[in-house]
């Protein structure tokens, strides 16, 4: 079960499994977002290249207008996928 929700003005939480079947849901949720944001991935259990694609598209769109996209609370599988894709060097990752 994948969920995406805004938990504060500048923070969007992702939870569950972000696979190819959830691209439409996430894309529609993120389309109106037009400010700097942080994705809180504390409860995200799984992400594939399809999910990464949605985050990258959001990053590119907001970056064009000078906004930032940050990530926080990456663990386990999520951290591995970002590392192996090289995206851990693209996104700013907030570390505790």
């Amino acid at each position: 079960m994948f969920e995406i929700s805004r938990i504060s003005d500048d923070t969007i939480a992702l939870s569950g499994r972000f696979d190819a079947s959830q691209v439409k849901k996430a894309t529609e949720f993120l389309a109106p977002v037009d400010c700097s944001i942080t994705f809180d991935l504390a409860d995200l259990d799984y992400i594939s290249s399809a999910g990464l694609g949605v985050l990258v598209a959001t990053y590119k769109r907001l970056d064009q207008s000078g906004k930032t996209v940050k990530l926080k609370n990456l663990s386990g599988h999520i951290q591995t996928v970002f590392k192996f894709s090289g995206l851990d060097r693209i996104f700013q990752i907030i570390r505790d």
């Binding site: 696979d19 599988h77 996928v81």
Partner: protein
């Protein structure tokens, strides 16, 4: 003994595939990191078959063969044109996003996370076998 199941050629089948993998391999004893890699590799290959092998709508068969510490997962797409994901151009993950070409990241992740990938095309059936040592977190 290998076990297999067929799944509809649809992205919506991913949830059933994860349930199949979870219930068939390891009995919860495999490192969660490796479970995530295995699920990702299967998703990437399955989604490739759904997206690019659209010359048939036959089900896709997934076979699991778990012996000792080696897991082999074979995905077969029936009556389709040849499409070998192992021939996909390499992705340079050190390039800035603006210079990266679209696509290819999924296969890059599969190649990075699995120990070996084999491709076979025979009688118009396209098969990809993912091989993973369950003691190796790869990368």
């Amino acid at each position: 003994m290998p076990i297999s199941r067929s799944f509809p050629k649809s992205i919506e089948a991913l949830e059933q595939i994860v349930d199949f993998l979870d219930s068939s391999v390891g009995g919860g004893k495999i490192d969660p990191e490796i479970v995530g890699m295995m699920q990702l590799a299967v998703e990437e290959i399955f989604v490739n078959m759904v997206k690019y092998n659209d010359s048939s709508s036959n089900d896709i068969r997934i076979e699991l063969d778990h012996r000792a510490d080696i897991l082999r997962i074979r995905l077969t797409d029936f009556d389709v044109d040849r499409f070998d994901p192992t021939e996909a151009a390499a992705v340079d993950i050190n390039m800035p996003l603006s210079e990266r070409r679209a696509g290819g990241l999924g296969i890059h992740l599969v190649k990075t996370m699995m120990d070996q990938i084999e491709y076979e095309y025979k009688d118009r059936n396209s098969s990809v076998t993912l091989i993973k040592n369950l003691n190796s977190t790869g990368g």
